[in-house]
Symmetry: C2
């Protein structure tokens, strides 16, 4: 196993308060792996044997219903944990994680979780905070889907993506990973057709620029207006 350097994880929230020794301990039990774009890091229903930290790239987490419908649960950024079924007492992964771009992850076997709980309480606290935050974000999403129009929801989703994974390009702010209309639809509870229509309309108004699996936001203030104005009927 290659040596993993402390600089990989130093400064990341989960490891914020750890001493050099403790980071050594953490890394000594981790291995790293590379996942190429569109490959699965773990799959829904699979027995959870490890938990993960994303070192580089972006991961899309997808949940599938028994009927085969899907939603995008979230996108994971660099430095975030994923697959932490062990911390939730779940024997299997509750969703599927797919590399949205080529990714590098650290992997720990679930077996060391008890030790970490004992020796690194600050790490665990951080993990539980992460789960709590995600629960609340999910509730906010239910509020959104329940009470807002498709237009607002898509606008908000884009703004969140900009916030989370925006990268300055010369035309505006681009989402830093490939994302399809279908993906956006699965984030907002609508269809790819509606998303496509909205994006086309916004492009005509100079708010975004569209491409294949690509969205560039060129007028964020205007998009924010759309997200907040419930029920602004704009005509051609």
């Amino acid at each position: 196993m290659p040596n993993l350097d402390k600089s990989l994880i130093a400064g990341l929230p989960p490891f914020q308060k750890l001493s050099a020794d403790e980071m050594e301990f953490v890394l000594s039990h981790a291995r790293s792996a590379r996942y190429s774009r569109d490959s699965a890091i773990f799959s829904q229903g699979e027995l959870a044997q490890s938990f993960f930290l994303l070192l580089s790239g972006y991961v899309r987490v997808v949940r599938t219903s028994p009927e085969g419908d899907q939603v995008v649960v979230r996108y994971i950024n660099e430095g975030e944990l994923l697959g932490i079924a062990i911390a939730m007492g779940t024997p299997t992964y509750p969703a599927t994680a797919v590399a949205a771009v080529d990714c590098i992850v650290l992997i720990w076997p679930n077996a060391i979780w008890p030790q970490m709980q004992e020796r690194l309480p600050s790490f665990c606290t951080s993990t539980y905070r992460t789960i709590g935050t995600r629960l609340q974000e999910t509730h906010d999403r239910i509020l959104e889907i329940s009470n807002e129009q498709v237009e607002q929801r898509v606008a908000r989703a884009l703004l969140r993506l900009v916030q989370q994974a925006g990268r300055k390009s010369k035309d505006g702010i681009a989402i830093d990973f490939p994302i399809s209309r279908q993906d956006i639809a699965e984030m907002t509870g609508t269809t790819l057709h509606s998303v496509s229509r909205l994006l086309s309309g916004w492009e005509d108004e100079g708010i975004v620029r569209n491409g294949r699996q690509k969205v560039i936001i060129t007028d964020q203030p205007q998009l924010t207006l759309i997200a907040e104005n419930r029920r602004t009927r704009r005509k051609a």
Copy 2:
């Protein structure tokens, strides 16, 4: 402070594995309180200073958006924890808890959480499992709202209520607490009007019997059919 008897909590999942001494310890830090119907146990945004266990009654947990829209996050049953912001590292309560009927709760100050973490790991593990389960249920709800019609969603919500708080009555299975059309609407992301129409229709078909803040399910198999029989929203 009145003496709290171990029999109050013995057998409840969070305290399953505790010794008599440990239960003594837990109870020595708890106080009990009574909340009358429609009163708030804690409020969204309020500084979280305690966590709770519902001994008797039912509690409705509601989340409100900045715009004032509400959704019912869940109903809490007897024996369940609520207001466990401390376990999620949240300084304030993320939702409001309202007594759906007269309730009795146990209350612990957040200050003793660190001690419990240290002395009663099984209790904490159970708490984290609870949070994990709720996160997954919430994701399932997003799947439902995103992909199913109003009719299916309301049917499913009723079935879940039956499962969770069904009580045999001579006509069928009644929901064991008062629940309005508006409440059901806020559970399913629709309007009280749509819920009312559906329930009226189902009453005509002999599937339910309706009353003021009351629903009795008389034909559960038929309702299950409605919940599952969905016009799929699938794409090519």
